[in-house]
């Protein structure tokens, strides 16, 4: 059995390792698109700050984690997929034959249609190479503008701020991290960031970027014009699936997969940021571009590729973010569900916030700010569908007791 895994992020690497164990006799080929060994995007901010060397971001730390473990590692970019023939063609012309293919090609950042975003001082901060590129452009006294205060923008924001740069963050929507936080929490994060010296603009759009005397000049629709040594664009990502467009595979915002992570073509699976898979909370299909989902996808897809029958109960949307020291999390249906109760506790003075959303006596979503201890039980409460019984009323009164609720309900 020939297994090819295209894309060597967390989903791809996990899948390769899982396959290596689950199908000891099969061939496992892992295709990485970048010059660097597989690395973790969540570690990039710490590389930017200088806490770790680039090797500190690598997904695996052992000496020879791929070829040495029986995983053939190939560098190349996928260009074409011939599903019926079982052939994947790379940009350099190399052809890889497969019986089973896992697409875990991730996603790429996109630039909005604004003039000037092709100027040299405009960068994404997506890949490790991007990070290296902007390292030299940030620092004491530099003017840096971050366009987009979504999750991806925010994870590097702290690094940009800590570098000593004069940082301005421009978010088109009415709050920071709009896809992860409600207005209350998003505003609390914005206020926190402002108190740490970051200039935060919300409901503001960049309308144009020009070069002016060696510096960028960024025009914002709120009337301001900002000089910048660096503009980081973090306005969204799109799944890397163009190479598969001629294959007839079913795709939407990602490659559509079922509860076995199998695509519309039997021999092909997808995992991670490129996969539009079952959503635990909604029962629908979505892309949850986060590390835990990627590794879950990778492992379960691999087990099914190896001939096991493993059902995935869906990914839970969840995020953890550290914005200049304020730690926030969101889980599941943080926007709530129709007819469900909601319990909220705002502590502005201490930048603490807890929001729990219920469907009957089940927890279905949560947002927290300023707390980290035992935070994972929110996943446990939601994904184990634990009936809260008497704790529902207590949590309606004081949502901060969710850890106590979990421990009490599961340790009897």
């Amino acid at each position: 059995m020939k297994h090819v895994i295209v894309g060597a992020g967390p989903a791809g690497v996990t899948a390769a390792e899982t396959l290596r164990k689950a199908d000891p006799d099969g061939e496992v080929t892992l295709v990485g698109g970048e010059a660097d060994p597989p690395y973790g995007r969540m570690a990039i901010p710490y590389f930017l700050i200088g806490n770790i060397a680039d090797s500190g971001t690598f997904l695996r730390k052992s000496d020879d984690p791929y070829d040495g473990q029986g995983i053939r590692y190939v560098q190349g970019i996928a260009e074409d997929l011939a599903a019926d023939d079982g052939k994947l063609t790379l940009a350099d012309g190399q052809q890889l034959d497969f019986d089973k293919l896992l697409i875990s090609t991730g996603s790429h950042p996109i630039k909005p249609p604004i003039d000037g975003l092709d100027l040299p001082a405009v960068h994404h901060c997506w890949t490790l190479q991007d990070a290296r590129d902007i390292c030299g452009l940030i620092g004491e006294g530099k003017d840096v503008v971050l366009m987009g205060a979504g999750f991806i923008g925010c994870i590097i924001m702290e690094a940009l701020a800590l570098s000593g740069s004069n940082l301005t963050v421009i978010e088109a929507q009415d709050r920071m991290v709009p896809r992860m936080m409600n207005k209350t929490a998003g505003d609390m994060i914005a206020n926190w960031c402002r108190s740490k010296g970051v200039n935060v603009m919300t409901s503001a759009k960049v309308t144009g970027v020009a070069e002016d005397g060696g510096k960028l000049s960024i025009t914002v629709d709120n009337g301001e014009t900002l000089p910048a040594d660096l503009l980081v664009v973090a306005t969204g990502v799109r799944s890397n699936m163009d190479f598969a467009s001629g294959s007839g595979i079913d795709m939407d915002i990602g490659i559509k997969v079922d509860d076995h992570l199998q695509s519309s073509i039997n021999s092909i699976y997808a995992a991670g940021d490129v996969a539009q898979g079952p959503d635990f909370s909604t029962g629908g299909w979505d892309v949850h571009a986060v590390q835990p989902t990627s590794v879950d996808h990778g492992r379960i897809a691999a087990l099914n590729m190896a001939g096991h029958d493993v059902t995935y109960q869906g990914s839970l949307n969840m995020n953890v973010l550290d914005t200049v020291g304020l730690i926030s999390c969101s889980f599941g249906l943080w926007q709530g569900v129709e007819g469900g109760d909601s319990s909220e506790k705002v502590d502005t003075a201490n930048s603490r916030y807890t929001l729990l959303n219920f469907d009957g006596d089940l927890l279905v979503g949560a947002v927290t700010l300023g707390r980290t201890d035992h935070i994972g039980v929110l996943r446990g409460l939601i994904q184990s569908r634990i009936r809260l019984r008497g704790w529902k009323d207590k949590l309606m009164e004081d949502p901060n007791l969710f850890v106590e609720a979990y421990v009490d309900l599961t340790r009897t």
């Binding site: 506790k345 502590d347 201490n350 603490r352 807890t354 009164e397 004081d398 901060n400 007791l401 850890v403 106590e404």
Partner: protein, 615 residues
């Protein structure tokens, strides 16, 4: 080392919270907690001050072992001048508040002045701030703790607060922490209330360091082993709590019953430790749910009880159908034997109310017993009590008057003044079972002679926890002495008083001394602190603390004439039991005691003694 070397000084008059260094010289001489805080009181407060005035100070203090892995390291104290006794007050508590305060980085918190309006002190490590408590004033201890947790959004905070009793001036109001532990005696909660200080909420994540950690862990480990192997600390107290004593003391003929009219209570077996284990017919459950530990305690003597949901006290009141702090020996005695009530469930309820409203059950029960005596004697009538039939053994009347006292309603206002003031008001001062205006606890000095001297000489008024000679006279620890003879008791009392002063200054619990000697305790302190700490230096330190307290009291106006007992104990012989026909022979013990203490015949520490103790 395991002093944080930081004192938080809170001025309630001007709303400031300031950190200052702990006085290192004083710490060397007085260790911490009871001893060190008393030194601060002596240096900073005029002993003649009105205890309820802004000039009195209120000190929350931990010891060097508080918050460490030493066994029973959850102890802490409240030190102030008592409004009940006019003497120095040091009330100890366990639970978790003290360790949290220590882990936040504070040896002591000194409150001075008086706030204009209700406030609480909010502490997170080195951050301390006074905050408005208007919405908490009038709330119970339980409600206040719940409110503070919700305000803070942190279930891990620890609280110490007063209830309505402390606000309304009940003279034996307690400071209650962790909902059911209390610095109970001498009205320290009354002082807190007089300052408009409702509560302290603390979260400490700094932790506690010790000097030589390896040595310390060895010493603490050895002490824990001794506690585990000992019959009292390893078995009796975990199983029955202090309630193990109810039947023992009753059989000794030293259970003060019906305001000490008797020394044995026919209902004792119904309200003791064994009874708490018995399965109720009504709901198939026992009163006792489990035992519980204070911070760092391997003994876990605390009782968690649940009242029979069908009992009249809680029926239809789900807020009381919970598991909460159950009866200790002292509360079972004071609310039960002293009043002649043998209804275990009712007594448990009254104990809940003491925790919830913030009262000392010993003083409360004893004062109610005195009122029942007044009622029996006709000194008070239904007119005075508002129709309450305050008869010995009347369970419903007991429950009603306990609630009324905590709420400051009706005749409860008189009870709230304590037994000495109440009995004087109604013209029968001899019916007050008090020393220095504080109600004596659950040991009748006619049946246990040494406890007579203990009560008479206790620096905070009648109290068993200043020299628990019961250990020797009844339990045979460290060696058995005859409870019916006054011989040798002066020396016993002095030794117990000095040792207890050390333990109360260390941050650990006096219950360890059922098993540990000073030779077991000293190595922990020695590993913890700089300098050499031997049994001898510690015992001298204990004696120093005792004399310092005595000096405060003398300066406050107390004299040898206050070192006495209620006439009933000295004149009316025990009617039944082993002590039948005996009175307490205080006159045979007191002069010897003064002499052993190095005090004059008038009970004043001699200059020689003061010099020897470097006072």
């Amino acid at each position: 080392m395991a002093l944080t070397n930081k004192v938080l000084r809170v001025n309630l008059s001007n709303g400031t919270c300031e950190s200052e260094a702990t006085n290192a010289e004083w710490a060397k001489k007085y260790l911490g907690q009871r001893g060190l805080a008393t030194k601060y009181m002596v240096e900073e407060v005029d002993p003649k001050v009105d205890a309820l005035s802004a000039d009195n100070k209120l000190i929350f203090a931990t010891g060097p072992l508080t918050g460490t892995a030493a066994p029973t390291s959850g102890r802490w104290s409240v030190i102030t001048k008592s409004p009940l006794t006019g003497a120095i007050a040091c009330s100890n508590s366990g639970g978790f508040f003290g360790a949290e305060m220590k882990n936040a980085g504070w040896d002591m918190i000194i409150f001075e002045g008086k706030s204009d309006g209700p406030v609480y002190l909010d502490i997170t490590n080195d951050q301390a701030e006074l905050k408005d408590a208007s919405n908490m004033w009038g709330k119970t201890v339980w409600e206040t703790e719940d409110m503070l947790r919700e305000i803070r959004g942190d279930n891990d905070i620890r609280c110490a607060s007063i209830g309505p009793a402390g606000e309304s001036g009940v003279l034996f109001a307690a400071v209650v922490n962790d909902k059911d532990r209390a610095a109970g005696r001498s009205g320290v909660g009354t002082v807190m209330g007089s300052k408009n200080l409702k509560a302290i909420a603390v979260r400490g994540t700094v932790g506690t360091q010790v000097g030589d950690a390896m040595k310390f862990m060895q010493a603490a480990g050895a002490a824990k082993q001794i506690l585990a192997d000992n019959a009292v600390t390893g078995e009796g107290l975990p199983t029955y709590g202090t309630q193990v004593l109810m039947n023992v003391i009753n059989e000794t003929g030293a259970l003060p019953t019906r305001n000490a009219n008797d020394v044995q209570f026919e209902g004792a077996s119904k309200i003791g430790g064994e009874a708490m284990h018995e399965i109720r017919e009504s709901d198939g459950q026992a009163n006792l749910v489990s035992n519980n530990a204070c911070f760092g305690c391997p003994i876990s003597c605390a009782r968690i009880s649940k009242i029979d949901p069908e009992h009249f006290t809680v029926k239809g009141r789900p807020e009381y159908q919970i598991n909460s702090g159950g009866l200790e020996y002292e509360s079972a005695w004071s609310l039960g034997a002293a009043t002649g009530v043998d209804d275990l469930e009712a007594l448990t309820y009254c104990n809940f109310i003491c925790n919830e409203l913030g009262m000392d059950p010993i003083s409360l029960g004893s004062t109610i017993a005195a009122a029942m005596d007044l009622y029996k004697e006709g000194a008070i009538t239904d007119e005075d009590t508002g129709g309450m039939k305050l008869e010995f053994g009347n369970t419903k009347a007991l429950v009603a008057i306990v609630e009324a006292t905590g709420r400051g309603e009706g005749f409860g206002v008189e009870i709230g003044q304590g037994s000495r003031r109440m009995c004087e008001k109604y013209g029968r001062p001899e019916l007050s079972m008090t020393v220095k205006s504080q109600e004596f606890p659950a040991y009748d000095p006619r049946g246990i002679q040494g406890m007579g001297l203990t009560y008479a000489t206790s620096n905070r008024g009648a109290c068993h926890l200043r020299s628990y000679t019961v250990a020797s006279e009844v339990l045979g620890i460290p060696e058995k002495t005859d409870p019916l003879t006054p011989d040798g008791k002066a020396g016993l009392v002095k030794a117990f008083q000095d040792a207890t002063a050390v333990v109360d200054s260390s941050g650990t619990c006096i219950f360890t001394t059922f098993a540990l000697t000073m030779d077991d305790i000293a190595p922990m302190i020695d590993a913890d602190l700089e300098g050499d700490w031997s049994s001898e230096t510690l015992m001298e330190l204990g004696e120093r603390v005792w004399n310092l307290e005595r000096k405060f009291n003398m300066d406050a106006g107390l004299t040898a004439a206050d070192d006495t007992l209620p006439q009933r104990l000295l004149k009316e012989a025990a009617k039944t039991g082993p002590a039948k026909g005996k009175v307490n022979e205080l006159d045979k013990m007191l002069p010897e005691y003064y002499e052993l203490r190095g005090w004059t015949a008038d009970g004043v520490p001699s200059n020689e003694t003061l010099d020897r103790l470097k006072l």
